[in-house]
Symmetry: C2
Subunit: 398 residues, 2 copies
């Protein structure tokens, strides 16, 4: 049986504000809401009644008394469903959330973006169908999707993506919206990770921060005043090709000495294989022997087992990343730096190395109170951010 999807949108800024409060704060009484939005109780009641009429919000019984009349709680209609898709360089994540953006179902599959949008869409839609069949959703009120490259945000179209050439100009937003029959928003995967950590992770209630994602490549989500900064052409945060060594290693991008030539999933795997072949690490050599090739994960487990070469690789990489972050911290003076992405499995060795470098190189005033932490959402960050992206869009005045 088909559920009627919500098509209503908040009619004004007050309603939008209320919807977001309900999303982020869970069920709430009218009185509590009144304290948070600057509105008289009368006006508040009117707006809530209107939201109830639209079906976006439903009554949620009576709260426990706090010494007086019990309050009538309201909450977002729990039938609302958002879809979050996170397309990485080598895998896809698909998740379904409730209106509070909590994940109800989550699938992850390996994939290669370079196979192009059509193949990837097929795979992704199959994953969506599987989630649907599992019963967590019958349809979607909105979907957010992240792709590993710059996006022309208003149109929802990838633009000149270096690692996914076939996607240039592919109308992701349009295509997915057609397929799902609901509103869709598209963004860079790194920006979505930042939004995810802001929604439900370490960056809650931080206005200015950035979020460095170290996966196959290296990117950075920039948040200013609670809003993602996308830049003039949508390429803000593209820090993977900042130069860290004057006449350094050649990089696929054509330059020399780029950060990504020294660290990130690709560089780490390549360096580990070289070390294994040079016989620097018995541990790595053995793994290379059996698997035929090495990945960042191999380095991670070897390091955890105490392999010195692997630890050195991580420390060196961390120092390179730290060097870049140190510069950005001086420039941007954030209140928090989040490190996330696939290689967070490298954990505290990496983090320590980054911290050392940043605290040594940046100005005391900028680092004095600057936490540098790992993201706490892991693979859920991207899809959570995707859900937040579309819900922010839908929960804004029509």
């Amino acid at each position: 049986m088909a559920v009627r999807r919500m098509t209503a949108r908040p009619a004004n800024a007050h309603q939008a504000r209320l919807l977001r409060l309900l999303r982020d704060g869970g069920p709430n009484s009218r009185a509590e809401l009144g304290d948070r939005v600057d509105l008289s109780r009368s006006k508040l009641a009117v707006e809530i009644d209107r939201l109830l009429e639209t079906g976006l919000v439903v009554a949620d019984g009576l709260a426990a008394s706090r010494g007086g009349r019990r309050s009538h709680n309201v909450r977002l209609n729990s039938e609302l469903r958002f879809l979050g898709v996170d397309i990485g360089a080598t895998s896809v994540d698909v998740a379904v959330t409730n209106p509070e953006l909590e994940i109800l179902g989550h699938l992850n599959q390996p994939m290669d973006v370079r196979e192009g949008p059509v193949a990837v869409f097929d795979q992704m839609l199959a994953m969506v169908a599987k989630l649907r069949d599992s019963g967590v959703a019958e349809g979607f009120d909105g979907a957010g999707i992240g792709v590993p490259g710059p996006v022309r945000f208003p149109e929802g179209v990838p633009v000149a993506p270096p690692i996914m050439p076939g996607w240039d100009g592919f109308p992701v937003r349009e295509a997915l919206s057609q397929e799902l029959g609901c509103p869709v928003m598209v963004d860079n995967d790194v920006n979505l990770m930042a939004m995810g950590e802001m929604q439900a992770g370490v960056a809650r209630s931080v206005g200015d921060f950035f979020c460095v994602k170290i996966g196959t490549g290296i990117g950075c989500g920039v948040v200013v005043g609670g809003e993602v900064h996308r830049g003039t052409t949508g390429s803000a945060g593209d820090i993977g090709h900042i130069q860290v060594e004057a006449e350094g290693r050649p990089c696929p991008c054509g330059n020399r000495g780029c950060l990504e030539a020294y660290f990130g999933g690709s560089a780490l795997a390549r360096d580990a294989e070289a070390a294994a072949r040079d016989g620097l690490s018995a541990e790595l050599s053995a793994r290379l022997e059996t698997a035929g090739r090495l990945t960042a994960e191999d380095v991670s487990t070897a390091a955890a087992a105490g392999d010195g070469t692997s630890l050195d690789l991580i420390r060196d990489g961390g120092a390179r990343v730290g060097q870049v972050i140190a510069g950005l911290v001086s420039f941007f003076n954030p209140g928090l730096v989040v490190i996330g992405g696939g290689v967070t499995g490298l954990g505290h060795t990496l983090l320590a190395s980054i911290r050392t470098q940043v605290y040594r190189q940046s100005l005391p005033l900028a680092t004095g109170n600057l936490p540098i932490v790992l993201g706490e959402l892991g693979p859920a960050a991207g899809v959570t951010g995707a859900a937040r992206l579309i819900s922010d869009h839908l929960f804004s005045p029509a």
Copy 2:
């Protein structure tokens, strides 16, 4: 005779909007204003009448007919005066502007910030008195002031300024406000330069850009969505101590390889003196002989005269700055980069060197349409920005 200063402030957002429009667009008819603010003509008339009552706005005769009834122009009260002060490391600028932020009088004097706030204030107030005596103003409706270091913006107090130790915690805002009897806002000098170029220079109508100021040191004003980004502790834009060389030259800050160890007024003068002593340039040696020491200006004039060593110094420095800017461009993806400050006398040699480096190192998507230009306001940028700072403050809802 004392003029009664304006104490009125806009009562609501509409009035604030109108005041800013009048400031930036000059005299205007009601009809034109109506097209730019989204208000009915009735409501507009009411708000303008109220502004007329406050005295902030005055009638300005009739405009020429455009085929119908002539419009009644209004403009800001031309008796309004703003004071802009720009305290640099080695000089002070003081200027008076009309309500449209055009400079009516401007003084510049050499000075050493390290003499401390009391001495500098004395000198500055004497300059203000001189301007007053010259008849451009009898009093001020507001003042903006820039200092060469980080500022705790809400309080208007310098915080941990490296090059002006005696100023730490000195209540600049409070003190100047007391002295002048008008509202005062304080900011970093680099931020003010950015605001100046945004108000009346190359950055008009650009939302996201940054403004690199190369004076004694090197700093950077960061503008996001038309607003200056000051960072969590007010130190955003402090790029002078970003590392450009791994185990590079020692820097007074304690680290090695900082940008300021390679370029900026101080470094350039030092390098020029070394070159002169080593006999690399007859031109510079001669100047050193006569003056006893060299400044960035000497290098500038020598370069203009074709001195190869000086040109090399500028080119090398530009490459260093360009290297840092390239990284920041990748990170921030601005729509414009402005180069300003004392050493802009180095002109197009410097600019060309910076451009080469940035266009080579940053991603094509970020640089594809990125102008890198010299500021067009020169020494007026800082004081114009200071005037804009206070007028933005005064022209916002009470």
